[in-house]
């Protein structure tokens, strides 16, 4: 699959935006939490799962999506949401717990819901997988050519919902693509001690659907494989499973001492960081210049700063608003 230049540039730009976003959230997360770390304190309290390193998965898929497509993501959702074009200001405001947030502050970072584009995520492992199947069912029943994408971690692939979702999608021939972000760890538990086989993509055979491995954390590789899977889905040829070997650069959540991964492993991730490797390739290929890269960074950083400014300056919901929205 040929990748058009504007897609390459978009992918890179979006990777920059995501990384910057995660870095800024990380900084702000620690505001007012130190010196004695207090998870409940600061402008962003609670658990915070950041996706730095996993940008290639998000940006490799998103260019193939169109309005009406549905995406479900996990507890580590920012990169996916940003790539899909979820309103960054509202999303950031939600992470800050503000009334202007996607959920008026009710959901927080693990519960970002948007209807246009259709995005949802959750705090329960594999919870979004059947939901994506259902979105795809709705598309098929309504004869729409939309697709649903379900992102999940390699740890989630050992949860029962994975199995039920893939079987349902396959037996009903639904337009859904399951994308496993294999960062080799589920919190501290290495894939090798949790998963009986090396590649979850091989599990596709248990459902008679295509399973494709993307062995490197490269946006172009993801782009090509996801493109084909989404094309199939849109054309009524059914579901696919993709596994991408990717990297979680930081701890499982912020505050995680990350003592369960060796220094060598961590250095390896730094060396192959797509945020460094990919732009180098783009320069080599003549797609981007150093100057263009600087321009992109300035622009993306600006967008991120604007969203953060928006979130910071927004007001908190009224306490009693907690009682609203239990029922429509």
């Amino acid at each position: 699959m040929e990748v058009p230049n504007d897609h390459l540039v978009w992918m890179y730009s979006t990777m920059v935006k995501i990384r910057r976003f995660e870095e800024r959230i990380r900084e702000i997360y620690f505001e007012d939490k130190l010196p004695a770390f207090d998870i409940a304190a600061g402008p962003i309290p609670g658990e915070m799962h950041l996706a730095a390193g996993q940008e290639p998965v998000a940006v490799g898929v998103a260019p193939h999506l169109k309005p009406g497509d549905a995406v479900t993501a996990t507890h580590r959702p920012h990169h996916i949401a940003i790539a899909q074009g979820v309103d960054l200001k509202k999303m950031t405001a939600e992470i800050f717990g503000k009334d202007a947030g996607l959920g008026h502050g009710k959901g927080g970072h693990m519960h970002l819901f948007s209807s246009e584009p259709s995005f949802g995520c959750s705090g329960i492992i594999a919870e979004g997988m059947p939901v994506a199947v259902g979105a795809a069912l709705a598309f098929k029943k309504q004869k729409m050519d939309n697709v649903a994408i379900s992102f999940f971690g390699e740890g989630a692939a050992n949860q029962g919902a994975f199995h039920e979702s893939l079987n349902l999608a396959a037996v009903w021939g639904l337009p859904v693509v399951f994308i496993c972000e294999d960062n080799a760890f589920a919190i501290s538990v290495p894939k090798a001690t949790a998963t009986a086989i090396a590649d979850n993509s091989d599990r596709a055979a248990a459902y008679g659907i295509p399973g494709v491995l993307v062995p490197e954390n490269d946006p172009v590789a993801v782009y090509e494989v996801a493109g084909e899977a989404i094309r199939r889905a849109r054309a009524g040829e059914g579901a696919s499973l993709i596994e991408v070997k990717t990297d979680r650069l930081w701890g499982h959540f912020e505050g995680d001492a990350d003592a369960y991964r060796t220094d060598a492993f961590k250095e390896g991730m730094q060396t192959r960081d797509a945020l460094t490797v990919f732009p180098e390739k783009l320069i080599q290929q003549g797609v981007l210049t150093a100057a263009a890269i600087e321009e992109i960074k300035t622009r993306m950083y600006g967008e991120v700063e604007e969203a953060i400014e928006f979130a910071r300056s927004s007001t908190y919901p009224q306490p009693e608003a907690a009682l609203e929205h239990v029922f429509a």
Partner: protein, 346 residues
């Protein structure tokens, strides 16, 4: 609060149906009215639902809208959620409520919370139908009601009809509701040919479409001496007891809650304020459930009107046993209700 008397007057009809047929008719009428409604579940197709809840629907609407699923409750209930978010109004059937443990995350953490998490932006118009209750020796994993468990967790409405009229009206209301509604039908109120015959399971049902409001109790029988609050099949038990009690000069008012969420607290308080005595009858487990909630509601709202401590009858915190004498020992019954009321009056 609507009384059955009001209902009978306004909706006078000679047409009698079983609860099962009334429920299936309600679904069929909504499916005719709205092509976005569809049913998914195990054996809802050619079998017509193990308890007949979807009888005849496959023939009427075809397998595109009446979908037999694999035994993947997490999968298909989660799929119903996704479908509800994307334009459909699915009805998902959990064959027995006892099976909720394999799929409860999708129900209580996802279905019930997405509207809230989204700050009201996303709506989830779906119905979860499920069979409840025991009394026919189906043992501990096929005889529970578990409505207390569902009602405890916020974000889903919970209804349980006791008769054909309410069964049709409530399923129609549930389908039209923009919120997730859990619709619990007791096997013993369905009027199934293969269950012990229950005359109260057949009753007048208007042919046209109508709604019974969710969150409103009904007075199944008016009375002045004591209030018996209950739901679903135990309404029948209470009505039988009330008849016996009438013979003994005791006038029992029977409140059919019909919904647990929202709970019609006003109806409870109003009746207890009138009768000064309360018995709560439940086929769910006793502790941490419906009986405690209803009694607390009465105590909160009618403390000074209570002439005796409220009493309760429920499954005595044991799994439902298989053997007939054991199961009958733990189930509520008209006899137990009669005795309890007599003790309350003493």
């Amino acid at each position: 609060m609507t009384t059955m008397t009001e209902v009978d007057l306004t909706k006078l009809t000679d047409r009698k149906l079983t609860t099962q047929k009334a429920m299936a008719e309600g679904i069929a009428q909504e499916m005719e009215a709205d092509e976005k409604v569809l049913v998914m579940g195990e054996d809802v197709g050619v079998y017509g639902g193990i308890f007949g809840s979807t009888e005849g629907l496959l023939t009427k609407f075809g397998s595109e809208r009446i979908i037999d699923t694999p035994i993947s409750e997490t999968g298909f209930i989660g799929a119903a959620i996704g479908a509800a978010l994307h334009g459909l109004r699915p009805i998902a059937e959990l064959m027995f409520v006892d099976f909720f443990g394999v799929c409860f995350d999708q129900i209580y953490n996802n279905m019930a919370k997405i509207h809230y998490f989204s700050g009201g932006n996303l709506k989830l118009p779906m119905v979860l139908t499920t069979a409840v209750g025991g009394g026919y020796s189906d043992a501990g994993q096929h005889s529970q009601t578990l409505w207390g468990t569902f009602a405890h967790l916020p974000g889903m409405k919970v209804v349980a009809p006791s008769n054909p009229y309410d069964a049709k009206g409530l399923i129609i209301s549930a389908i039209r509701d923009d919120n997730p509604v859990v619709y619990m039908f007791h096997k013993g109120v369905m009027g199934l040919g293969w269950m012990t015959h229950n005359p109260r399971a057949t009753g007048p049902v208007p042919e046209e479409s109508y709604q019974v409001p969710i969150g409103k109790a009904s007075i199944a029988r008016e009375g002045t001496d004591v209030t018996v609050v209950t739901i679903s099949l135990s309404v029948h038990r209470a009505l039988d007891a009330a008849e016996q009690l009438a013979g003994k000069g005791i006038s029992a008012e029977v409140i059919d809650l019909r919904s647990l969420v929202p709970l019609d607290r006003e109806a409870i308080v109003k009746s207890v304020t009138k009768t000064h005595r309360l018995l709560v009858v439940d086929e769910d487990y006793r502790s941490f459930g419906m009986t405690g909630e209803v009694i607390t509601t009465a105590v909160e709202g009618a403390f000074d009107h209570l002439d005796a401590p409220p009493a309760r009858i429920a499954i005595p915190d044991v799994p439902i046993p298989y053997s007939r004498p054991l199961e009958q020992f733990v189930l509520p019954s008209a006899a137990k209700i009669t005795t309890a009321v007599e003790q309350l009056m003493a």
